[in-house]
Symmetry: C2
Subunit: 473 residues, 2 copies
């Protein structure tokens, strides 16, 4: 039985472009491309096509555009918002870019590399490292996510404080447009004021305006010195004062400033044996890191001195400075393990919000009260990239709560959090994007004017509406 | 006699919005708004309108859009490409934003400020300074250019190496669209992945998609330590090696890396008495600067050490490190005086080009030969922001050349330079934009696909074509 609606003739045309084995139509073969890795989004595609070159992508898109078939661009399929899986119609075609995985060139003197969309992020970090350079984009999924997806979602991660979001790491882009034409914007220039900055339009568009096939990315000097500390702070306000102090002391060498509530840190320790037990008994914690590309930069001494001043100023209560790379890694593990610990603790409702840094103390004061009033017994798991104003503000259910019962609160909790975020000038999606998950939020929180401009651009570039239908707009 | 085509009724409507004295229709009053400051572009407007608020801008645009009158947005009118002056038809209306000059707010804890388009750039630098912050955009016209123009042209300047172009300094934007609707995108967030990044579309669009009325700009810790040196280098290739060495040594604390040929530096000295006479007799020079926001950063010692290593490696021949702020300023004056010196020396043909840094040595080798073959006796004035790949590659006429004769070569010289720039993957306009001056270049050097996408966006947002007609596209 085969209910796939793509015509046999179209499937044959796709096979003629990418080769028989790179058009997957059987149920078993399609399955990994139709569902997201967290098991939250399930689709059904007419076929999965795996082109190996820009020219193949262009010819695939031409063939699909001619018949107005919806196209779902896909990289490592690690979206947290269902951005890279098809709908359930069985009519869309997934165009998976994983075979376009060449580093086309590295130019150390220009501090750039030109890479194809299907390169795994960790591969690019390695390629940079081999040339004694840093490619600073770094996030949990880096072993499987692909740079095309990072570009299409403007991925954030842990390096944003110093290096910016993916958007700020791009000099040039190559895109297959919704009609199959190729825009070659692979420029490797730090200054170029010749008309509209088209690349910024495709970055973060989640594949709704075209398929990113390659990019010129910035490289940076590799870090060769570092200092890491866990700092106990009396309040979030004090953490912000400490952030400003360390920015002044370290300029852009301050590369990390993560906030954790005592409960977050406690969960991380509870579920991960061998976690360092330093600095118990405080309300809030900051994990801070400074890097320098000079080999012998006296960062540890500078951090000790800045933290001593912070204690004197009442911005910090106590600090533990890593004395080795191994100790630094253990401190970072405390932070990185929070998400997994929360999963092990039981059902949880997640948010990926951002606010002006200055608005965070008042926001937290108000939201904690609102949520505890609405969901008595819920446990608030507050942590995130304070330096970027990005909080992963999550709720774990009461101890022993039934998962399904508690998760039934998700929509109501999201509404409370996102409404208050909006009132404080924040965003309901800091780094994860919109995908399918947050389309309702987009309509609720964006102005009519902003939505109208987005729709006008979408209609101008993709009049038939075939690029990643059902995502974002 | 009055040949202005705007109807008296329209003029009255504009006066009703902004007040009688803020609609200028007489020849004498309009004149400063109709011509550029270098006297290269001359237009004639129906009127100059000076709104004082976003609401006034919106109502002015609504009134003009209703009658399909061309609108020329204007700030300090310091464009180098004729981007902010009307055409000669007498039918366009200049909307000058200079009365919208409020700093709406400064948020030191978030490191942002919200400013109106008519704020003079130097005013913003001061506002930041008053809060112990740096607003890093800095360029020659900073005493008269306005931030709305900086945004609309994505201004570059001397801070790009560390802080990026204007585009990278913006978190949020407020724009009056071509139909008079207001898009309030004044978000102050470092992470926000909720749909298309509209602000990046308006930045650098030179007023062809709407009128920027306000923006949220990033602030940085104020620099409190600095080190400056003039370095003699044997070649441009050696200068690039030195650049990479200093990036490694100073990370993002390297804030300036300017290249000057011996002839450029000689012109600067010849026409500016009192210039420091250090390091005579070499072929190329680099002016380098490192900044740190820490008060007691040992930058001078680090620079001495790095330059000593560079001499050992053959990347530098000699260096003069400033021992005081006054000495540093004198070294910078050597670089800043090159443009004025060239003007005093006689007729000159200018370019604002960018290239991948790695392509610059080969480009210079080829372009020098091509130009000297085409224009015997011409003197090449090569200087610029090497760290950004941005050269101001200029030609001075032979000594005693007739200005009009020599300038007759401008189009031919531009063609030779820009053709070769294109072959090396470069840009014909690194930081000055397109305006009226480089529309021909845009058509010549951009692909059909890129032009088509730009035109589709223009048509989608400004279907009547009333926003800054005759500029860019």
């Amino acid at each position: 039985m085969n209910d796939l609606s793509a015509s046999p003739a179209l499937i044959e045309r796709l096979k003629a472009v990418v080769g028989e084995r790179n058009v997957i139509t059987d149920d078993h073969g399609r399955e990994p491309f139709e569902n997201d890795w967290r098991g939250q989004f399930h689709g059904r595609a007419a076929a999965v096509v795996k082109p190996a070159s820009t020219d193949e992508v262009a010819r695939v898109v031409q063939a699909l555009a001619r018949e107005r078939v919806g196209i779902v661009p896909q990289g490592g399929n690690t979206s947290l918002c269902g951005g890279s899986v098809p709908d359930g119609s069985g009519r869309q075609v997934v165009v998976n870019l994983s075979r376009m995985n060449r580093v086309r060139s590295v130019d150390p003197a220009n501090n750039t590399m030109t890479v194809e969309a299907g390169c795994v992020l960790a591969t690019l970090q390695q390629a940079a490292d081999e040339h004694d350079r840093l490619f600073p984009l770094s996030l949990g999924a880096e072993g499987s996510c692909e740079i095309g997806g990072n570009l299409s979602t403007n991925a954030g991660g842990t390096g944003v404080l110093r290096y910016g979001n993916t958007r700020e790491l791009v000099l040039g882009l190559e895109v297959v447009l919704p009609d199959g034409r190729v825009w070659d914007g692979l420029r490797a220039l730090r200054k170029d004021n010749t008309g509209y900055d088209l690349k910024q339009l495709f970055i973060g568009a989640e594949g709704t305006l075209g398929i990113v096939t390659a990019a010129v990315m910035k490289l940076f000097p590799a870090p060769r010195s570092q200092a890491t500390a866990l700092v106990a702070v009396p309040s979030v306000k004090a953490a912000i004062a400490l952030l400003l102090r360390l920015k002044r002391a370290f300029s852009d060498r301050l590369v990390g400033f993560e906030l954790m509530s005592a409960f977050s840190l406690g969960l991380s320790r509870k579920h991960h044996a061998g976690s360092p037990d330093v600095l118990q008994g405080h309300a809030w914690y900051a994990l801070v890191q400074a890097d320098d590309s000079a080999a012998d930069a006296p960062l540890v001494a500078a951090l000790e001195s800045a933290l001593a001043d912070a204690v004197d100023a009442g911005e910090a209560l106590d600090a533990s400075i890593a004395q080795s790379k191994a100790q630094a890694e253990k401190l970072w593990a405390l932070r990185e393990n929070v998400s997994e610990a929360q999963r092990r603790e039981g059902p949880n409702i997640k948010h990926d919000i951002s606010l002006p840094v200055s608005a965070i103390p008042a926001f937290l004061h108000e939201i904690d009260a609102a949520l505890l009033a609405a969901f008595p017994g819920a446990r608030l798991v507050v942590f995130g990239h304070l330096g970027d104003g990005n909080l992963h503000y999550n709720l774990s259910g009461p101890e022993g709560a039934d998962a399904r019962d508690f998760m039934g609160n998700a929509d109501a909790a999201n509404r409370i959090v996102h409404d208050l975020v909006a009132r404080h000038g924040g965003s309901f999606s800091a780094e994860h994007g919109v995908g399918q998950l947050k389309r309702g939020d987009l309509v609720r929180y964006k102005s009519e004017v902003e939505l109208a401009v987005m729709r006008a651009i979408k209609a101008a570039l993709d009049p038939a509406g075939i690029m990643n239908p059902g995502k974002v707009l």
